[in-house]
Each structure stands twice: as C-alpha cells, then as structure tokens.
C-alpha cells in the first residue's frame, strides 16, 4: 500500500481508522436524519447524485478530508466534482489521482467515465503511470481517453525555465511522452477513408495544438516515432487561423513548409521586428523541418535555398505564371517567385481575392452576370482601397497594382462567362414564392460550404489559360486518392447531412476542399487546361521539380481513369427529401412536384430541376451563344419532366442551321423554321420562354445579321 493509500485508505469499513470510521458514520447518520426530516414533509430522500451536484455542498470543498469522504461513500460523482473544483488544492488532487489509479474500483470508475479519465491523465505524474493497471481497465476506451488527454496536454504552454511544473496549467513533456507511447501508430495515423473524418484527425489535431503552444519538441518526437504529419483533418467550424484553414486542420508539415523563407532569415535584420511568438514559431518550424528531413518523411522541400534553386522557380523566371496548390505549401514558392524580377504581379488567386470576393455573394454575382465589365471595374476599384502592394518599393508597387488591375479584370470577366453554377447560392423560395432569408438552394442540398470560393478558383484556372499564363501546380502534400475519390466522399458527406436532418436541423453538409476541386477540374479538362508551350496551361510540380512528359503522361492516365471509375461508382449525389425543394419547384411548375419519380431518384430529380432551371435561365441571359449547347447536354431532367419540350433542342438546331445557311435560305424557309421554334418555345414553362427566345431565337438572327453587316463592310 502506498503512502497516499495510507492517507486515503481503502473502502472496507474494517480497515478504517477510528476517526475516519466515526466521520463516515456521522455523515451517514446526518444523511439519514435529513431524510427522516424530508419524509415528514412527504418529500423523497436526498439522492446521492444531488449531494454531489449541489453547490455549495457541505461535503464538497477544498480539502482532502472532503474528497476522502466522497471516496468512502463510493460516490464517484462527488469525487469528480471535488477534483474539478478550482478550490480543491493540488495536493488533494494528487491524492485523488493516486487513489483512483491504485484502486480497482477507482480504475473502473475512470473506465466508466472517459471524460474524467482524460482529465485525470492530463494532469497525472508520469511516474504513477509506469506500472498501472489502468490501461487494461480502460479496455476499448483506452485510445479515446488517451487521445482526449493528449489534446488537453497539447493545449497547455510549457513551464517557464527553472519554475516548478504545474500540470494543471502547464505541459509536462514527460507525461505527454508516456501517454503518446500508449497509442498505436494506427491510432495516430488513422486511415479511415474519409476526408476530415473525425477518427482521422488525432495526429493533425494534436500537432496543431502543439504548434499553437510551442510544443515543437513534442512534434519532433512524434515525427521520429512515425506519426504522419502530412495529413489534414476536419476542424470544428469553418474558420482560418492558428493552423486551421477554411475548416481544415492543416498538416503540421504544411505549417512548417510555409516558414522556409523566415527560417533562412533567423538572426538577420529581417527578423528584428518579429514578435516573440513569431520568433519561437519560426525556430520551432526549423526544428520540425530538420526532424522531417532526418526521418525522410517530408512531403515538401524543407530548405529555402532548395526552393530558390528549384526547377520550378527557374521555369517561372522563363515563363512567369501563377502558383497553385495547398496554401501553406505553395507559400515558399510564391515567396521565392515574388523575389524574382518576373514576380512583381499577383501569383495566386489569394492575391486577387480582395476583388474576387465581392463577386461571391448572391447579389455581387448577379451584378457581375448582369454587367460584367462594370461590375469588375467596381470590384477592382474597391479592392484598391487596400494596401495590395505593401511588400513592394514604390516603383514595383505601381507595377504590381497595374498587374493586379489587369489580372483581376480578366479573371472577373472569365468568372462571369463560366457556367453559372453559382446561381445555387441564391435564396431558396418560401411558401409564398418569396426568398427564404439566409437559406440558399445550396444550403438545402448540403453543398454550400466553400462552394463559391471553389467555383471561383476553378474559373481562375480558365482565366489563366485564356491569358496564356502558366499554372504551376504544386502537388506536394496532395493525396491523389482524395482527388480521385472526391465524389464518393462528397456524396457520403451529403448523405450524412441528410441523415442528420439536413438544413432545417442545422446539420453540417459537405465542405468543399478547394485544392482537390481544382485538381479535379484540371484532370477532367486536361486537353484544354494542360500546358502547351506558348499557350500557357497547367504544369504539375513535385518538390520543386517539373513533372516531365513521360512521368506526367503515366500519372495523368492513372489519375483520370481512377477518377472516372470512382465517379461512375459514386453515382448521383444524394438529395434531401423533395419537400425541401417544393416551393422552388412550384415556382417552375406547380404540377411538377406530383410528377416526381418515387424514392431517392425523385428527390434527386427535384434538386436537379431547381438547379438546372436556374443554370439554364442564367445561361440564356448571360451566355446566350452557349445556351443551346447547355440545353442539349445538361438539361435532360427538365425535358423528361416536360418543363422544356423534348423536341426543342432539335428544332433550335434546325433553325440555327437554316439561319446561318450559306447561301442564305429562302425567306419562307426561315419563317417556317422560326414559326416552328416559336411554337416549341411557347410550350416551355413560362419562366423559360423569354430567356430561351433571346438565346436560341434572337441570338442566331443577331449572329446572321452581324455576318451580313461584316460582309457588307
């Protein structure tokens, strides 16, 4: 029996010291008497839990004696309350911990209460854990309990040098190490096949907390023991900062990779203005990069000079372009490129963002579609109110701003010309046909999170191609399995969202991972977006090296095949119940709701009708020359439910052909084709008639007249 146990002896009354037996008997007597009192008032006796939960409770307080009383009563709830009370002295907590770890009943109580166990372990003396039977008692809860303890410890700051350690508030490296070793690498590097699945996150989550609390040595120890520091995890919420970016816990490798330029500047003039926090973090990043290099587990370059001397930066100087990839990973390449004479321009979408973000709201997007040039100018002028070119000296600043204006304008015009998928962020309709405040069709479908930035960034790829700018896409840190299986994972996330009650229940929907969405866009449209000398396009980069043509061809073929197969297997995205879209459907056609197919396919149809109808109308209004192509290739669901006549595309194609015939068709033929097309358009639901007339009736005539005018000139 340990000294502590002598102070807090085991439960059997026979082993109690006389004064403790008396105290216990007295307490029990008092409770009994109180219950007799209550009985005369026809009240129930006092439940033991109520004694524990009461505040203030004469049995709960800041003393070992009171903790002991609770222990003698086998009252674990009270012990928990005593332990958590800020008034309970550290000595009492130490005693309670030792007591519970030594006793079978105590260990069982901890196993039954993982939260309490995690609290205990996060403040335990590591020596007391050396030969404990707690791990066995915890059984299958062991991993969860230790994981929670490690998260708690990782959040604590280290003890200042030469100061006594307080494990309540400070991180004990020895305790962290003992607990970390209790987990298998499988637990640390959970391989569950889902982006951001909760199980998958232990390594990244703990590392993120350590990154925030300057636990660099602990991170290095994890790296040395085989913890994978290259994977991300889903964060709570969707914020950015402190190791989290747009809702994802960043792999700590990415965080360290971002600091390469700063690491090279340690103890130089450039570091003179750094805050103490930044100084410690940069030095910590240096340690992490060294550990990654030593363990040969780095997925990025780990030295600033390697970035500066990389093939990519050399290529950039010959063919300046934009630099893409995970934000933190590409940062060092962006830093290096900006330092070159060719780098005085926006090098990533983030640098255009002050202008771009204004087009990402429903109103901002509508304004852009309605009048692209005017809206683009307005957004750019507003963005120029920010100090966009701060890092540059005067001459370069003017150059940078001029380039910013050029690139932002070109991007916004391209964004306006893209398939108007962003219409799904428009408000859904209510029972009166009016807008539901704060609820979009995308919200209802469970796809709104990061949707607009994703669409904008995909448009950015097309903008770069149109501008003949090379796109240097850094693949470091990208798991191509995540790219390939993205649709499956997205469908699963939407399915979970629906199962959790969907938008009305505030469930969390799919969270777009922009980098993965961009790469999928590239793979789908490689023929158009891929690099062609002199024409720009995408060039993939791995650890600073350009993927050469043979490497690229092999990898592309593999990625594209696997992605197509996975997408086919994933099928259509799940949809919420059709009722969620009823008001939007009624606005299109009050009869269509009753016509929907049975089961989940009908729900998907409901969603797609609402989505496609909006796309089509926007397409017809903003890009009339492409409306017919969209109508033919993407609008089957509208035709199959009779919202658009089945024969409309054929009639429209015939009309277009007659109008553009050379030599010109007889007037009577044109008029006959026009009459036929008008009849078909009139068979469309009313909301489609005007936009479609503009797109597929007026547009060919306008085109013909332009040709005629050009010929006359």
């Amino acid at each position: 029996m340990s000294d502590t146990k002598k102070k807090l002896p085991v439960r059997p009354v026979a082993e109690l010291k006389p004064e403790e037996a008396r105290a216990q008997a007295k307490l029990q007597f008092q409770v009994n008497q109180a219950n007799l009192f209550l009985a005369k008032f026809k009240r129930p006796p006092i439940p033991l839990q109520e004694l524990a939960a009461s505040e203030p409770d004469p049995r709960i307080g800041a003393s070992t004696e009171q903790a002991r009383d609770a222990y003698w009563g086998g009252d674990w709830e009270t012990i928990r309350t005593v332990y958590k009370s800020p008034e309970t002295p550290i000595e009492a907590k130490d005693a309670i911990r030792a007591m519970m770890l030594d006793e079978d009943a105590g260990r069982q109580a901890l196993a039954n209460d993982p939260d309490l166990a995690a609290v205990f372990l996060s403040t335990a003396d590591p020596d007391t854990l050396a030969d404990t039977d707690l791990w066995a008692a915890l059984g299958n809860k062991k991993t969860d309990v230790i994981a929670a303890s490690l998260m708690t410890i990782a959040k604590k700051q280290p003890a200042p040098n030469d100061q006594p350690l307080d494990r309540e508030t400070q991180r004990d490296p020895a305790l962290f190490s003992v607990l970390a070793e209790q987990l298998t690498l499988e637990a640390w590097n959970d391989t569950s096949n889902a982006i951001g699945a909760r199980k998958r996150g232990l390594g990244p989550r703990v590392c993120m907390e350590l990154w925030r609390s300057h636990g660099y040595d602990e991170i290095c120890a994890l790296i040395r023991s085989g913890v994978d520091t290259s994977v991300a995890a889903r964060a709570e919420g969707s914020g950015t900062g402190g190791g989290v970016r747009t809702g994802f816990v960043q792999p700590v490798q990415h965080l360290a990779a971002k600091c390469l330029r700063d690491i090279a500047s340690i103890d130089t003039e450039r570091s003179a203005d750094w805050t103490s926090f930044a100084n410690r973090q940069v030095r910590g990043a240096a340690k992490i990069n060294a550990a990654l290099e030593a363990s040969d587990t780095a997925v990025t370059l780990t030295k600033w000079k390697d970035v500066q001397d990389s093939d990519m930066i050399k290529e950039f100087q010959k063919n300046p372009g934009t630099i893409w990839g995970f934000e933190e990973v590409r940062q060092s390449y962006v830093d290096a490129a900006h330092e070159t004479p060719q780098g005085v321009q926006p090098l990533r979408m983030m640098e255009l963002w002050k202008a771009v973000e204004q087009a990402l709201s429903a109103d901002g997007y509508d304004a852009l579609l309605a009048n692209p040039k005017a809206a683009a100018d307005k957004y750019i002028n507003a963005a120029l109110g920010n100090d966009l070119a701060e890092p540059y000296a005067d001459k370069d600043k003017a150059t940078y701003i001029a380039n910013f204006k050029r690139d932002a304008k070109a991007f916004l015009l391209e964004f306006a010309a893209q398939v108007p998928k962003a219409t799904v962020i428009r408000p859904a309709r209510d029972a009166t046909g009016g807008a539901r405040p704060g609820v979009s069709v995308a919200d209802i479908a469970g796809v709104s999170s990061q949707l607009m930035p994703g669409i904008a960034c995909k448009a950015g790829l097309w903008w770069a191609k149109n501008e003949k700018k090379p796109v240097y896409y850094i693949l470091d840190g990208v798991d191509m399995d995540d790219v390939v299986n993205y649709k499956t994972l997205k469908n699963q996330a939407i399915s979970n969202f629906i199962d959790a009650g969907g938008q009305p229940a505030g469930a969390q929907g799919h969270h777009e991972t922009i980098t993965l969405v961009e790469i999928r866009e590239i793979l789908k449209h490689w023929d158009e977006l891929g690099f062609t000398p002199g024409e720009g396009g995408v060039r993939f980069v791995e650890k600073g090296k350009m993927l050469d043509s043979q490497d690229l061809a092999d990898k592309l073929a593999d990625w594209q095949t696997r992605m197509r197969d996975a997408d086919t297997a994933a099928g259509r995205a799940p949809a919420p119940e059709r009722q969620e879209f009823k008001h939007d459907l009624d606005a299109i056609d009050p009869a269509v709701f009753a016509k929907l197919a049975d089961g989940e396919e009908g729900d998907k149809d409901a969603r797609d009708i609402v989505r496609k109808a909006n796309y089509l109308i926007n397409f017809a209004n903003t890009r009339p020359q492409y409306a017919l192509k969209y109508l033919m290739s993407k609008c089957d669901v509208l035709r199959s439910y009779g919202l658009i006549p089945v024969g409309l595309p054929t009639t429209a194609v015939a009309f277009s052909g007659i109008v553009s015939r050379d030599p010109p068709a007889p007037k009577s033929d044109v008029e006959a084709a026009e009459r036929e097309l008008v009849a078909e358009i009139k068979r469309c639901r009313p909301m489609f008639q005007k936009p479609l007339a503009k797109a597929i009736l007026d547009q060919p005539l306008i085109g013909r007249d332009r040709v005629k005018a050009a010929l006359r000139q």
């Binding site: 008092q30 008497q33 109180a34 007799l36 009192f37 209550l38 005369k40 008032f41 009240r43 129930p44 006796p45 006092i46 439940p47 109520e50 004694l51 009461s54 505040e55 203030p56 409770d57 004469p58």
Partner: protein, 148 residues
C-alpha cells in the same frame, strides 16, 4: 407604557383582577409574540435548508418558512373578531374553536414534529411555544365566558 395599561397591570399583578381590555390585549399580544418567535426560528431553518444547495432540501425550505401561515390566519381572524365584540358569545366561541384547531394542528401535523426535531442544528420550538400561548388564550377566553 400608557398610564391606563400601567394601572391595569398593577391591578392585575397586585389585586388579581383582570380588566376586559387588558385581557384582550394580553391574549392577542401573547399569540403574536409566540408566533413571531417561532417564525424567526423557522426562517433560520428555512435559510439553512436553502443554502445547502441540495435541491430536495431547498424545495422544502419554503414550506418550512410558511408552516404556520394557515394557522396564523385562522387565529388572527378569530381573535380580531373577538377583540371587536368580546361580549358576543359567537366571537368567543369562534376564537376558542380556532384555538382548539390550532392545538390539534400542532399536536398532529408531522411537519411540526419535523421542524422541532430537525437534525440541522437549528432550535425550533413550535409545539412548545405556540402550545403554551394557545393554552393561555384558551384559559383566558374560557374564564371570560364564565364571567359573562
């Protein structure tokens, strides 16, 4: 003390004769004093119960504080009526009936026993203090009836 009251007290103490007005005043004040005394004890107990933070005890604390309210209302109503018309047999009978009912309540209600024997270290003497007051009142009113 007013002269009349002082004189009445002297007559009662020295000569053993009780004035009618003094009888009423003594009876009412005796009940009120006894009731106030016990109420203070019950408030102390009620406060303690509430401050334990134990819900079951806190729940009962109001009932403890208000334990005497119904009895006090009956007694006060009856005594005020009697004070107004002491010569009227009905008011005296009603007052005596209220005193009897109060006595029965003190003797039979378990809650009175509970507060008097409470284990919380607060001295409460509801049965004894109020019982004595009721007995005195009963004696005075009975005597008054006999005199009438």
């Amino acid at each position: 003390m007013p002269d009349d009251a002082a004189r009445a007290q002297w007559v009662t103490r020295v000569l053993g004769y009780t004035f009618a007005s003094a009888q009423r005043a003594q009876a009412a004040s005796q009940w009120q004093a006894a009731k106030d005394s016990v109420d203070a004890q019950l408030r102390t107990l009620s406060d303690l119960l509430r401050k334990t933070g134990i819900r079951t005890l806190a729940d009962v604390s109001d009932e403890v504080a208000g334990l005497l309210v119904p009895t006090h209302v009956s007694m006060t109503t009856a005594l005020l009526a009697y004070d107004k018309e002491p010569a009227k047999p009905e008011t005296r009978s009603a007052a005596l009936a209220a005193i009897t009912a109060a006595g029965k309540f003190l003797a039979s209600d378990e809650r009175v026993d509970a507060v008097d024997t409470n284990p919380f270290g607060v001295t409460v003497s509801a049965a004894a203090t109020l019982g004595a007051a009721l007995r005195d009142l009963q004696l005075v009113l009975t005597r008054r009836g006999a005199e009438a």
